[in-house]
Symmetry: C2
Subunit: 282 residues, 2 copies
């Protein structure tokens, strides 16, 4: 069991990981996207004190070099669920499970709103993890919302199991090639059914489906951890990065505006200190 | 009148100044010590993400280079009082006055407790500013607590006015040379009097004095701004850096632990965004 699980590969996660390492804690650092991929799209960053006028690419490289110099590695997995399992937290990430005494959420701002019906049908046809739940759809018909090209291998895995797969890529040039796959260039706007998912609706028309896999870079905070208080999509946290759930801390864009690298890095530091204070009291 | 007055030359102040400049605000940046002097004593800094294993000296240089590259200059003055003057704040610094709509306090952690009687006799014999109040002690007897060698010119100025000056340097090798100056190598522990200061007591013995000048690098937050809520010496602020006084924000070590450069820099950024939100509502 880890002392601390840090979730998120952006600047808040980097800062948390650096401090957890320096303070000699037993921790795991999980994230779907490493920082170098995440900040690379930023143009010039002018307000990260000490690194004037740095490009997103160079900033990502600098952060990566920092963690590497300390022997810190990101475990590149998307965490799809966090469960309070009695005095500890169990994290699901792909087909792996991790246990930790404290959790630091550095999961970024989730810009997308959930699809209508998404939260309602979680566990009843809505899934965030192909490797976790794919097998249950052997021989069935499913939809897959694929937010990023790098999830295509998961889509292909689902194609190898399901009879029919409707893929809804949120980017251009989807490369999934499977005979039983049909590409729909529309965004789903509603998930419906009685007890379980039965159909997925678009602006015009709908498809019948036994389930939908939603493969996004980030899962909304309160979907990830049931009972976590949020407001307008942001985790409610205090100045010491504590959330409403004891042992769970939050840092970076997921805690609200301003969306700024230096603010995220600062909170990552604070969150680790708060987690350590919490561990000391256990 | 400025939109924003930023007080403090450390990493929180640097970050605030960079953001105020980028966001095109009319601001003044005041501080007794520039960042290059302040962080220079730090040994290796290992947890400022993006600048691995940097010395305090190089970190200070990097911050200074950042502000200089943006044409930002610190006005090197110690702010000794902030007054709400009706919809604006008036700041006293040496013999200058500045007016601003908002104030961002980045004044660092004040480690020293006030001397017994210090707060009680402010304006009645206790002063923080030689150039402001020195003239009132022409021909009188005063004590001067001098916390830093760089205030010695102020001590000498006081010696040119007062009849007798007891200097209490808080460092070795005090260089003040004046015929009417007597050096006391003890720390005062109590300031007493009836209506005004009359004496200064040490562990053993006391001196008669008409006043005492306390020349420190930082003035305690609630001494600086009357009515500002503090707890154990730290300014009470929320995650958006707001204090209990509207239009007054706080960032960095003065808001509490952890005392970390990256936390300070993050808060400096947040405080400017909050000040701008506040200005927009005026």
């Amino acid at each position: 069991m880890y002392d601390i699980a840090i979730i998120g590969g952006g600047p808040a996660g980097v800062s948390a990981a650096i401090n957890a390492k320096l303070l000699n804690k037993n921790f795991i650092w999980l994230g779907g996207v490493s920082v170098s991929k995440k900040v690379v799209l930023a143009e010039k960053i002018k307000n990260y004190p000490g690194l004037p006028d740095i490009s997103g690419e160079n900033f990502g490289t600098a952060l990566k070099a920092h963690t590497e110099s300390m022997g810190i590695e990101l475990t590149e997995k998307v965490v799809t669920g966090i469960y309070d399992t009695g005095g500890k937290y169990t994290l699901l990430a792909g087909d792996s499970e991790y246990e930790a005494k404290t959790v630091i959420l550095c999961i970024g701002a989730v810009n997308e709103k959930p699809i209508e019906g998404e939260n309602e049908f979680i566990g009843r046809g809505v899934s965030y993890c192909a490797t976790c739940d794919g097998f249950a759809y052997k021989g069935k018909t499913i939809g897959v919302l694929c937010a990023d090209k790098r999830f295509e291998h998961e889509v292909e895995y689902l194609c190898s199991l399901a009879e029919k797969v409707y893929v809804m890529p949120m980017y251009k040039n989807c490369g999934v090639k499977a005979e039983n796959c049909e590409i729909i260039l529309k965004k789903p706007h509603k998930i419906s059914g009685r007890l379980r998912v039965e159909s997925i609706a678009f602006d015009a028309g709908e498809i019948k489906a036994d389930g939908i896999f939603i493969l996004r870079n980030a899962v909304a905070a309160d979907t990830l951890l049931h009972g976590l208080k949020t407001e307008k999509g942001h985790i409610i946290s205090d100045k010491l990065c504590a959330t409403n759930i004891s042992g769970v801390f939050a840092a970076g864009d997921c805690t609200g505006r301003p969306y700024q690298y230096i603010k995220a890095a600062g909170e990552g530091n604070v969150a680790v200190h708060s987690a350590i204070d919490y561990l000391a009291k256990l």
